[in-house]
Amino acid sequence: MRKVIGLVLLIVVVAFVVYGVVALIHPFGYPSQSDMDDYIIDNAQNQTGSNNVVASVVFDYRGLDTLGEATILFTAVTGVLLLLRTLKHEEDRS
C-alpha cells in the first residue's frame, strides 16, 4: 500500500517536472536570456586577464562559490578521516 502511494506520488511529481522542463523551458540551444553571460564573455579578458572564460567565472566572478567548493571537499575529507580514525579503547564505552 505504502509502495503504491509512493509510486503514484513519484509519477505525478516526475510528470510535472518532465512537462515543465521539456515543454515550457526555452528550446535547447536558444537561451531566452543571456545578459549576465554576455557581460562575462565580453569582459572576462579585460577584467581578469584570463583567456578561459570558465576559469575566470570559477575563480573571479564566482570566486566565493569555488572557495565554498574547496571547503566542501576539505569538509568531506576531514569527515572521512574523522570517521575512519582508530578509536582508543577507553572510548568504547561512550
Partner: protein, 118 residues
C-alpha cells in the same frame, strides 16, 4: 510548441534521469543502490544545468585559438563544475558511513538496520 520537443531532448534526458534516481531512492533497500541513486540524481541535475547554457553552433568559451562564432554561456559550466566536486565530496562521506554501517550490522540492507526506516 510541438517542434520544440525534439530540440529539448537533453532536457528530457535530464528529467528522466532525475525521475529514475528518485525511483531508486524510494524503492531500493540496498544502501549502495541508494548512494547510486543520489549520484544519478546529481548527474541528472548537472546535465540539466549544463544543457541550459548551450547556444546552437557555439564554441567553448575559451579565447585561446578559438574559431569565430558565438560562445556558449559560461556560468552554467562553472556551476556544474562546482556541483560535480560537491557531489564527489558527498559521495565519499556517504560511502564511508556505509562502510561503518556494514561493520556494525554486517549488512547493507536498509530494512534490517533499525534506524533507517521511518
Amino acid at each position: 510548441m510541438m517542434e520544440s520537443i525534439p530540440l529539448n531532448f537533453p532536457f528530457l534526458a535530464a528529467a528522466l534521469l532525475v525521475g529514475i534516481a528518485l525511483y531508486i531512492m524510494l524503492f531500493k533497500r540496498n544502501l549502495i543502490k541508494l548512494i547510486m541513486g543520489v549520484a544519478m540524481l546529481a548527474s541528472g541535475v548537472n546535465l540539466f544545468i549544463v544543457a541550459l547554457g548551450y547556444r546552437a553552433g557555439g564554441n567553448a568559451p575559451i579565447y585561446t585559438d578559438v574559431p569565430p562564432g558565438p560562445m556558449v554561456l559560461s556560468v552554467p559550466q562553472a556551476l556544474t563544475l562546482t556541483s560535480i566536486v560537491i557531489n564527489v565530496a558527498v559521495l565519499a562521506l556517504m560511502l564511508t558511513m556505509v562502510v561503518h554501517i556494514y561493520r556494525h550490522t554486517g549488512d547493507i540492507d536498509s530494512e534490517k538496520s533499525r534506524k533507517l526506516r521511518g
